[in-house]
């Protein structure tokens, strides 16, 4: 059952220098089912964070449609918009600035409950304890201030705040990127457990391909504001259809020296160009080993392959026939 339906969303920002425009997100479409996780991967400047904010109604897109559970997010205003946002809260990357330093943990995690009511009536004292227990923290933390918590604990509080909204969907924007390896493992486990017990869907935004593979049912790969490939996670990882996806997957070092040193890795040329000057045609063509004339002039449409696997590349046929090396 489709929970989130995003169709043709686009957004440009005016650059600091006049006339120039940052084309942050271009023609992004995807669907997400209830209780599922969509992983969004990409390098810096790919527009993955902006996409999340557009979908959640935090930034107004220039074009496109967003529906949550059949309701038009972009048409909502005022209280209706605020109520809609509470159905899809966000957890942010930086655990040190996403919690108001002047508030106690109790006030932070129960704020959505208070917002959801007509009057600022007192929230039952047990609510904070319940929420903290849900994320594996002792009730005593309710009286603490954010600066007294470790990074992992703060991120748990942020997750508790999101759960207090009773959400259909939680957007996780690089939510574990700032954490150490062992702390990160704990948070990921918690998120997986919560999905199982509460049936919440995740929009999991990350630059870490291995992590996305671990948690996502579906994955969308973004490059310079476009989704260049999407599909069921294992299909995309096993048989990437877009040259960028292939390059990205092979660039991630595997924590096993035997595997890592015996991989054949296609060289990736250069670096991601600025979103101020998105290349003509296919945005990836200057770095693509397969680029031909058509790639330089025409932006490839998204082509459906099979079973919901789709890619935007003129040479999809060539790659899929050849298989993965």
């Amino acid at each position: 059952m489709t929970l989130l339906d995003v169709e043709g969303v686009a957004k440009s920002f005016p650059a600091r220098r006049r006339k120039a425009v940052v084309r942050a997100v271009r023609d992004v479409s995807f669907r997400l089912d209830r209780g599922q996780t969509l992983g969004v991967v990409g390098e810096s400047g790919s527009g993955k964070s902006t996409t999340a904010r557009l979908v959640l109604g935090l930034i107004r897109p220039d074009a496109g449609r967003v529906h949550l559970d059949g309701m038009d997010v972009l048409a909502a205003r005022g209280d209706r918009l605020h109520a809609l946002r509470r159905r899809m809260p966000m957890v942010f990357q930086d655990p040190y600035s996403s919690l108001d330093p002047t508030w106690t943990v109790r006030d932070i995690v129960t704020e959505p409950v208070r917002l959801g009511r007509r009057r600022d009536r007192a929230v039952p004292a047990t609510r904070a304890a319940e929420l903290l227990e849900l994320v594996g923290m002792a009730p005593a933390f309710a009286q603490r201030y954010p600066h007294e918590l470790s990074g992992g604990q703060r991120q748990r509080v942020a997750i508790a705040r999101a759960l207090a909204c009773d959400p259909d969907l939680v957007a996780l924007d690089e939510a574990v990127a700032a954490l150490d390896v062992s702390t990160r493992a704990g948070i990921i486990g918690l998120l997986q457990d919560l999905q199982t017990s509460l049936g919440v869907a995740y929009l999991f935004i990350s630059h870490d391909l291995a992590l996305v593979r671990l948690v996502s049912h579906e994955v969308a790969v973004m490059y310079l504001g476009r989704i260049v490939e999407r599909g069921p996670t294992e299909r995309v990882y096993a048989a990437p259809a877009h040259p960028y996806t292939r390059a990205l997957i092979s660039a991630v070092p595997v924590p096993d020296p035997v595997v890592q040193r015996n991989r054949t890795r296609p060289p990736v040329l250069g670096e991601v160009p600025s979103a101020l000057a998105v290349p003509s045609g296919c945005a990836f063509h200057p770095r693509c080993p397969l680029a031909t004339d058509i790639c330089r002039t025409i932006d490839p449409p998204v082509v459906d392959l099979d079973d919901g696997h789709a890619a935007a590349c003129h040479h999809v046929a060539l790659i899929t026939k050849e298989g993965v090396s």
Partner: protein, 289 residues
């Protein structure tokens, strides 16, 4: 399940702990407290009538009758210093309030909402800050008329752009904080965000600026009174006492030294406390102060 290991410490308790560690600032906070107390009780604690002239005691050096000597009209310097505390503290408060009432709302508006309102207000503030502050205050006094109230309104107007800048700058930083976006993402309306998230996080930089403005205003009150534009005779102000003393500096150096030291100490106290507040704010909002 993670457990709690140490006792919770509120942000304020942490602030107090760091503040108390700065000895000089604690002393200076005491100085301010004493000044305020003296200002409140002044009429009852002066040893002699501060305005009573005694020509026989003209320029009398410090003695048991006049602890700190007497001025050219034979008035008791100690009593005048004490009574002048009133004008000083009152002037500082008045000017700071005017400055705060103009600067804070506009600064909040410009910083949090950005856009054209910010452009217009910032340009206006830049322009007002380019005018040499003392000249500007003098010009305002000239049109409104001499006197301590007008002088302090003038100083409030002159320092308002600085308040505006601080408020705007802090609001600009806070609006980019992730906790503001987090509040938006759980459907918190803008008015409520400003009230419950932006304002509380502005408190420490505002306290710093209030303290600094107090010091600035007291210095300016003294300056304007020294020029004869602030507190009017026969009322005493440290600045106006200095003005009279100019002519007798050689014969009665205490007339020059004491009021100046009083001004220096008071301004130093407000500035030091302001700095200490800024340094005592925790790492979590250090950027703002």
């Amino acid at each position: 399940m993670t457990t709690v290991t140490t006792r919770p410490e509120s942000a304020f308790a942490a602030f107090r702990r760091r503040f108390v560690r700065q000895r000089l600032a604690v002393v200076m906070a005491g100085v301010i407290a004493v000044m305020v107390l003296v200002a409140l009780l002044a009429p009852w604690i002066t040893p002699l009538d501060p305005n009573a002239q005694a020509l026989l005691d003209r320029l009398a050096p410090p003695s048991t009758k006049h602890w700190l000597g007497a001025d050219d009209l034979g008035r008791d310097v100690a009593s005048r210093l004490i009574i002048a505390t009133r004008a000083t503290i009152w002037a500082g408060l008045l000017a700071t309030c005017v400055s705060l009432l103009i600067g804070l709302p506009f600064g909040l508006l410009a910083g949090y909402l950005r856009g054209w309102a910010d452009t217009v207000l910032s340009r206006a503030a830049d322009a007002l800050m380019a005018i040499p502050p003392l000249l500007f205050a003098m010009a305002i006094v000239a049109v409104l008329g001499r006197g301590v109230t007008n002088a302090m309104i003038a100083i409030g107007v002159v320092t308002a752009p600085r308040f505006f800048r601080v408020a705007r700058g802090v609001a600009l930083v806070i609006r980019e904080e992730t906790y503001i976006e987090a509040a938006r993402s759980i459907g918190c309306p803008t008015g409520r965000i400003v009230r419950t998230h932006v304002l509380p996080n502005m408190m420490s930089p505002l306290i710093v600026q209030i303290s600094v403005t107090m010091g600035f205003a007291i210095l300016f009150e003294a300056s304007l009174s020294f020029l004869g534009l602030g507190v009017q005779p026969p009322d005493a102000s440290w600045g106006s006492m200095l003005q009279r003393s100019t002519r007798f500096a050689g014969d009665a150096p205490w007339l020059v030294l004491l009021p100046g030291l009083a001004i220096l100490l008071t301004v130093l106290a407000f500035n030091t406390v302001g700095d200490a507040v800024r340094d005592s704010v925790g790492r979590e909002n250090r950027r703002l102060a």
